[in-house]
């Protein structure tokens, strides 16, 4: 045990230091790894390319004997292992070249090949009847040739053309059933030859190739044959190798048809080994395994999360595995093991065995390390965390594979060997390559994070209580930075059973999967594949020949392959040049032509020259003597055949060449010269009328030159043109379909909308029809609104300066302003209410009052404003001289102090004042005056202030004095008054406000009177809960106070729903009853937490507190008894949610969300949700919705704790979210709010709130009970009713 632990310790340490190394020097390590991979893969270059191309091996003809059946001994290096036993067949080709000589100029084009072809019958007869007579008796061809039986049943139409029940002897004569009479009666030879050519794309050897035994374009059987040499072969399949018989045949044929200038080498027998054919039956399982492999890779890499570039890492993972496999093969080759298994077949299994698991585990482990660590340390920690399991897994896998090695089955052993080496190299690559890539990625993510969080203070915002989670500081307006689009990254989930109409679902499916594009892409690929496969340009033969050349098994002595016919025209200039000595003359004649062109034209010109010569000889009947030449290109003409030629031929007789070989004997050259007379005699009567004389059609050699290439190339062009056209048609069709199906969603967002930046869209790329509604804008606050509270009917907001405003949530009227601007209490305790003052800042709703108010203002302010003030904005309201309070705050809590700092963004405030100033000078005065009056009226000295101001107003007793603290310029204010409202709660018509100086106040929302106050605590109230008649206040010093409101009569919710005229009502006598309300401290938990309480929620008789000391506590509301202390976060708690169903969720600065069981106090689940603090948290019956400082809103499945999807918010709108109903989520954006379907993650609607709010991000969203939404846009509130969305949903 101790040994294990020591080992574990050591491994972990080693991994740690390795991780440090990798993260420190990423680039050198990646380079080093790349070098290693290249070095290990270099032996692979020697291997032949994978494929089913045949392999060759040649042996000299001299004393050739078929290899024995058993494995050969001696020379194992030279001899391939397939060269065992007798071949399937020996192929003997008799290569015939025939020409009509001398050529008569009035001959027809058909004369070029008709008479040469006619000689094939004679030749075949000769071969058939050849017999060797020697001492052992008579041996005929029948004895040695390969006897074939029936053709396959599917090939009945070839029954007359291919030999059956006899020798396998193929010649062009088979076209006419080896019957000369038929040939003579055939009016159209070319048609006969081509009638079995496939009309469509050819996939294997054609009948013409089979019978001619050489590629069609070499045969010379066409109407444009200028060389007038016809070549064909008689192909003979032999069962046994009988050297004497063959040599006698060879000598006899040579004797009969001598080829004087033949230079064919005849000393090599070439054995061609064919690999296994992959038919459809084999292809389907293979494809299936590959599909499974891709599914495996897909599902694996999908789990990579929380990294900068998912794709990059997935690619790196795949590269790791693949290159480890390559390295494995390379290393095995290096040490002498040649792979015998089919690489393509075992490859998926190798990948699956090696697996991507380690890579994923590594990524997960690294990602889940604390984000605030340095990248190096994160990598190192992540590595060392997983080191033990990685090592253990690898040891297990190696063990299993080693067991497999002892099965002693060669194939399994080889597989295991590859797998072991692959595993080890995979481990190496994981450690060096993937870790380094991961470190780079993590570093990129950190950088991106840093760039994103511009003001460092804002990171700390979440330390405050939930209601002040938004720092008051305006973030720098994100105008410069492009606004981030709403993107929603959806993870497929059980909840995403779309509920949309079917039609839309189809369209969405199309759009989501980009089906059209992919279909086109796949179609193109398949089409190209077919083109390459059918090989119209002879590309593959070329490749094959290249491969066989490269192959060490190939015949090194072979002459270089000429590039096959698709590249060069059929004629070979070299041959003619070498044969005709008159070349210099030709050269001098054609002096002006470029050399290569001339070289290409040479054969034509040559024959032309001859023709011309013939004509020049005084219209002689006979042309020049043609001469059949043999050149290097005629050597082993069968090589130019498709490599499927022989397998196709043998497969017709149900003989497979897979994994077997044939031996091809050197061809016997036969040269035939035909007399013109013979050609004339053979001419078919119809041909004379049908064809022009040969020369007539070829007066212009230039244009004819292209046609010379034969019909194959034309096919290629035709196919290409057709394919192109059909592709374009398909694209057009799909495009039209696309437009018809999705007329408005794509591509035409309208220019008017564009300027709003990127349109919000959801996962399907679908932007819902956005609407613009004019919200009720609640203006009046001078500074940013900090706290919002509502009970459905009333809305209370509090801004930074401590002004509390009460709004009617239905109409948007400002009902009350606390402190009342002109409210004061005289000695008799009767409020003197001056109307017209209060609504004046509320310009929208109090328009009718504005004139009056300004009038009043002018009246009230005795001396007119000095002109100096007209063009200078009054900034007095912005001056904060209340240093004592701030100093105290600084002492008590540095974190909060920083929040305060961020709260005072002077530039924005000044800017706002300037803006207001600039808009209207005259109104500006009023505004400033109002500001002064609102803020500073108690401080106005007697000369300025209106009559009735008395020093007694400045006393502590006046409720109107409260909250006017910040801007007070007068030191005469008591220090205890200068406190801001930190928390706000509303119930019925009572507002509970907690102040920074620890004072708890209860206000009447309608009348704006202070009903009760309690200042027993000295520490600022960070959070409040107001439930029934119970108030719980959490304080900065971590203590928790329970108050209860006691009153003589029940809190009657009197007519707070006053209309606009409510403020003008005369003061009611019932207001005096306010004195009857008492706020009693019932309990006080002195040290609930030893750090400030940041979050406080109550529901279901439980009170939950979250604190900066990383813990949560659950109290019972009735007796303030602490039930549980919940530990589990590694950072300060920033958000807490509890509801009636006893669901408790908490989010912390560590970015984690914990779900707790309130009954037992145990942690249900723990999710790493955000990078940075969790700023707000709410739950529905099935989901948990959280937002973080990373401006992402994530939706989690409540039961399983899995992330369903996340919504990327715009900068600064991170925490603005609200849940309207169980399946409707509203999020804020730049001047807009968006509605989402929670269950499906669909963006339902985006509502723009007028044009005025465009640049303002919605900071906070509060959902009222009547389904209105209040958005906090800086100092303004917007009240939005969204009936349309609700109609759809409910």
């Amino acid at each position: 045990m101790t040994l294990t632990e020591r080992l574990r310790e050591r491994i972990s340490r080693a991994f740690y230091s390795h991780g440090l190394l990798c993260a420190s020097y990423p680039i050198p390590i990646i380079l080093f790894t790349a070098l290693c991979i290249l070095a290990c893969c270099s032996p692979l270059l020697k291997l032949p390319l994978p494929g089913t191309g045949p392999v060759e091996f040649s042996t000299p003809v001299k004393d050739y004997a078929p290899p024995g059946a058993g494995p050969q001994h001696g020379d194992p290096g030279e001899r391939p292992d397939w060269y065992v036993g007798a071949p399937v067949a020996y192929i003997q080709q008799i290569f015939v070249k025939a020409t009509v000589s001398p050529w008569q100029k009035n001959f027809l084009a058909v004369d070029v090949f008709r008479s040469p072809l006619s000689r094939v019958f004679q030749l075949v007869e000769e071969i058939r009847n050849h017999a060797l007579r020697d001492s052992s008796g008579v041996r005929s061809l029948e004895e040695v040739c390969l006897q074939v039986t029936d053709l396959l049943p599917g090939l009945r139409k070839l029954r007359n053309l291919l030999p059956e029940h006899g020798c396998l002897l193929l010649s062009p004569g088979n076209f006419w059933q080896n019957d000369r009479e038929r040939f003579n009666a055939d009016p159209d030879i070319i048609k006969t030859i081509h009638q079995h050519e496939p009309k469509t794309l050819q996939t294997s050897a054609t009948l013409k190739d089979l019978l001619f035994g050489l590629p069609g374009r070499y045969s010379g059987v066409n109407l444009y044959n200028r060389r007038r040499v016809v070549s064909y072969t008689v192909t003979l399949g032999l069962q046994r190798y009988d050297s004497r018989f063959l040599s006698s045949l060879r000598s006899r044929l040579k004797l009969l048809h001598p080829s004087p200038n033949c230079s064919l080498r005849e000393e090599q027998v070439v054995h061609v080994h064919f690999k296994e054919e992959i038919g459809i039956a084999e292809l389907i399982p293979l494809v299936t395994t590959y599909i499974i492999l891709f599914a495996y890779i897909y599902f694996s890499t999908r789990k990579i999360d929380m990294v900068k570039s998912k794709w990059g890492l997935a690619l790196a993972a795949v590269v790791t595995v693949l290159s480890s496999l390559l390295m494995s093969v390379g290393l095995c080759t290096l040490f002498g093991l040649t792979p015998t298994l089919n690489g393509g077949e075992i490859f998926p299994y190798l990948v699956v065995v090696i697996g991507l698991e380690n890579v994923l585990v590594l990524t997960k482990s690294v990602v889940s390390t604390p984000v605030d660590l340095e990248v190096k340390l994160r990598i190192a920690q992540g590595l060392s965390n997983e080191s033990w399991s990685i090592m253990k897994n690898m040891a297990t896998e190696l063990g299993i594979i080693l067991i497999g090695y002892f099965t002693l089955v060669p194939a399994i052993q080889e597989f295991c060997l590859f797998a072991v080496v692959g595993l080890v190299s995979d481990f190496f690559l994981q450690m060096f390559f993937f870790t380094t890539v991961l470190s780079i990625d993590i570093r990129r993510m950190e950088l991106a994070d840093l760039n994103k969080r511009l003001p460092p203070e804002s990171c700390l915002a979440a330390g405050k209580a939930p209601c002040r989670a938004r720092p008051a500081a305006q973030r720098p307006a994100p105008l410069s930075a492009p606004p981030q689009p709403h993107t929603i990254t959806l993870q497929p989930s059980s909840l995403r059973n779309l509920r949309l109409p079917k039609r839309l679902r189809v369209i969405y499916f199309f759009a989501r999967t980009r089906l059209a594009q992919r279909l086109i892409m796949a179609g193109t690929v398949i089409w190209i594949g077919i083109l390459v496969y059918t090989d119209p340009a002879g590309l593959r033969t070329y490749l094959t020949s290249q491969v066989t050349e490269q192959s060490p098994l190939g015949d090194a002595g072979l002459p270089a392959m000429p590039v096959p016919g698709g590249v060069l025209p059929a004629g070979d200039p070299k041959m003619d040049l070498s044969v005709f000595p008159s070349e210099p003359v030709q050269l001098s004649e054609n002096h002006t032509q470029p050399r290569e062109q001339k070289a290409r034209l040479e054969p034509n010109q040559h024959s032309w020259a001859q023709g011309a010569e013939g004509r020049g000889n005084g219209q002689l009947e006979l042309g020049a003597e043609a001469e059949v030449t043999w050149g290097a290109e005629d050597e082993e003409i069968w090589r130019k055949l498709s490599f499927r030629h022989w397998p196709a031929l043998f497969s017709y007789y149900n003989i497979t060449l897979a994994k077997r070989y044939i031996s091809i004997l050197p061809a016997i050259p036969v040269t035939l010269y035909l007399h013109p007379q013979e050609a004339l005699e053979l001419r078919h009567p119809q041909e004379a009328s049908r064809y022009q004389p040969f020369l007539a059609g070829s007066k212009e050699p230039g244009p004819e030159h292209g046609a010379h290439r034969g019909h194959q190339d034309v096919t290629l062009y035709k196919v290409a043109a057709l394919g192109l056209a059909s592709g374009m048609l398909l694209v057009l069709l799909l495009f039209c379909l696309y437009r018809v199906l999705c007329p408005k969603n794509y591509g035409q967002n309208g220019p008017g909308r564009r300027r709003r930046g990127d349109l919000p869209c959801d996962d399907y790329g679908y932007s819902p029809p956005e609407t613009e509604i004019v919200p009720l804008v609640l203006r009046g606050h001078l500074m940013d609104i900090e706290c919002l509270a509502s009970d459905g009917m009333l809305l209370v907001s509090c801004c930074l300066v401590g002004q509390i405003r009460v709004w009617d949530a239905q109409t948007g009227d400002c009902l009350t302003v606390i402190p009342k601007p002109r409210l004061r209490r005289d000695s008799s305790g009767i409020f003197d209410y001056q109307e017209g003052w209060e609504p004046s800042p509320d310009r929208k709703n109090g328009l009718e009052d504005s004139f009056e108010s300004s009038h009043q203002l002018k009246r009230l302010l005795g001396p007119p404003q000095p002109p100096l003030f007209c063009d200078q904005p009054d900034l007095t309201s912005l001056i904060d001289t209340n240093f004592s309070e701030r100093a105290r705050a600084a002492e008590s809590e540095p974190r909060l102090r920083r929040h305060k700092d961020s709260g005072y963004d002077f530039s924005s405030l000044v800017g706002k004042v300037y803006e207001e100033h600039g808009s209207s000078g005259c109104r500006n005065v009023n505004v400033n005056m109002n500001m002064n009056m609102n803020m500073n009226f108690p401080g106005l000295s007697a000369p300025h202030g209106p009559a009735g101001f008395s020093p007694s107003d400045e006393g502590r007793s006046g409720p109107g004095d409260e909250g006017c603290d910040k801007s007070s310029a007068l030191p005469s204010w008591g220090g205890d008054l200068e406190s801001s409202v930190w928390s706000l709660e509303l119930q019925g018509n009572l507002i509970v406000a907690g102040r920074s100086n620890g004072k708890l106040e209860v206000w009447d929302a309608i009348e704006g009177t202070l009903r009760s106050s309690n200042d027993e605590g000295q520490s600022g109230i960070t959070a409040l809960v107001f439930l029934n008649n119970r108030i719980v206040a959490a304080r900065l010093n971590g203590s928790l106070d329970f108050f209860s409101l006691e009153t003589h009569q029940s809190l009657n919710h009197l007519q707070f729903r006053g209309g606009p005229g409510r403020s003008s009502l005369p003061p009611s006598p019932s207001l005096c009853r306010g004195a009857a309300l008492r706020c009693l401290l019932t309990h006080s938990v002195a040290c609930a937490h030893h750090k400030p309480i940041t979050a406080l929620r109550a529901a279901a008789g439980r009170l939950v507190t979250g604190s900066q000391d990383h813990t949560l506590r659950v109290f019972r509301l009735e007796d303030s008894c602490c039930l549980f202390t919940l530990q589990g976060h590694s950072g300060a708690i920033t958000a807490v949610y509890i509801d009636q169903t006893m669901v408790l969720a908490s989010g912390g600065q560590d970015g984690a969300i914990c779900l707790w069981d309130v009954l037992t106090g145990s942690r249900v689940s723990h999710m790493f949700a955000h990078r940075g603090d969790v700023t707000s948290l709410t739950c529905t019956t099935s989901c948990v919705i959280s937002s973080g400082l990373d401006d992402v809103i994530s939706i989690w499945d409540r039961s399983s704790g899995t992330k369903l999807y996340s919504i990327q918010q715009e900068l600064g709108c991170g925490a603005s979210l609200g849940v309207i109903s169980d399946n409707l989520l509203v999020t804020g954006g730049q001047g807009c709010v968006s509605f989402w379907d929670i269950g499906y993650g669909d963006l339902l609607q985006t509502v723009y709130l007028g044009k005025s709010n465009e640049s303002q991000p919605a900071r906070q969203i509060l959902v009222l009970e009547n389904a209105a939404i209040v958005c906090n846009f800086g100092s303004e509130l917007s009240l939005v009713y969204v009936p349309s969305v609700l109609e759809k949903l409910d």
Binding site: G279, T289, Y349, I400, A411, S494
Partner: protein, 272 residues
């Protein structure tokens, strides 16, 4: 619920037996061994459909007593979805593995098999699909009956890996040239056990797999005995001796898929 399932299972078994005899009588068609591999139940598609149709309502009625109607609806819908997915997977695998065997001439086929590859054994994929559906539903069902939800490596990547290994085992059985049949069978048995250990590791999985292998082997013997099809070189009564291993690993694989499907997301694996 589990009782109902097993009832349906046994019911379909008997139905299968009857049907088998009919098939044996006609003896026109040949079955691939893979037909039974995935779950050993072969019955006509119509029977299967009837069985499934009968099962779904009974399931819903049974569970409606315990939970609300809506969740029952959901549950039965979920069940149908799962079985459809399993059916498709099973049918597809049968087709593919069938091809693998055909091409190696392990099972003998009529002459024109290449031209009429899919029509000759048209009933094999449906049967395998049904079998796969039954087994795939049975596994999570037994899990929940035993009260221990399967937690080991519950993710799609692992399931894919499992399928790949299963195909690999089939591949090996078809393609590898072994010295003798005992060696081949032992190797495949070890591989199958390795598959179970790597991807399952539950006792219920092992037990069920062995049961499936046993039943399927019995059925196959019966089939071959009746001459529906035959193996080219039988060495274990009428069949190849490695067949039980294949059945076992097939059962484990399908069970793996079924459990993953039952775990939540009725999401199709990407192999069909």
């Amino acid at each position: 619920m589990p009782r109902l399932e097993s009832c349906a299972w046994s019911c379909s078994c008997t139905a299968r037996g009857r049907h088998r005899r009919q098939l044996g009588d006609t003896a026109a068609e040949l079955a691939a061994k893979v037909g039974e591999m995935l779950g050993s139940s072969v019955s006509s598609p119509s029977l299967a459909r009837a069985g499934r149709g009968a099962r779904s309502p009974s399931t819903s009625s049974a569970s409606s007593t315990s939970s609300s109607a809506s969740s029952t609806l959901n549950w039965s819908q979920h069940l149908v979805q799962r079985s459809v997915v399993l059916f498709v997977v099973g049918a597809f695998m049968a087709l593919v593995l069938n091809l693998l065997q055909i091409q190696r001439n392990v099972t003998s086929f009529p002459d024109e098999v290449i031209s009429t590859l899919f029509s000759s054994a048209w009933w094999v994929p449906p049967c395998c699909g049904t079998a796969a559906a039954v087994v795939g539903l049975l596994y999570p069902c037994i899990d929940s009956h035993l009260g221990e939800p399967h937690k080991f490596k519950r993710e799609w990547a692992s399931v894919m890996r499992c399928i790949a290994v299963f195909v690999g085992i089939n591949h090996a059985s078809a393609k590898l040239d072994f010295a003798n049949n005992i060696q081949l069978s032992l190797t495949l048995a070890a591989l199958s056990l390795g598959l179970w250990w790597t991807f399952d590791r539950s006792r219920s999985g092992l037990g069920l797999g062995i049961t499936i292998a046993f039943v399927a082997t019995l059925i196959t013997q019966f089939l071959v005995y009746n001459g529906v099809y035959q193996y080219t070189s039988p060495d274990f009564l009428y069949i190849r001796s490695w067949l039980p291993c294949i059945f076992f690993s097939g059962g484990v694989t399908v069970g793996n898929i079924g459990r993953q499907l039952a775990m939540g997301i009725p999401e199709k694996p990407h192999n069909d």
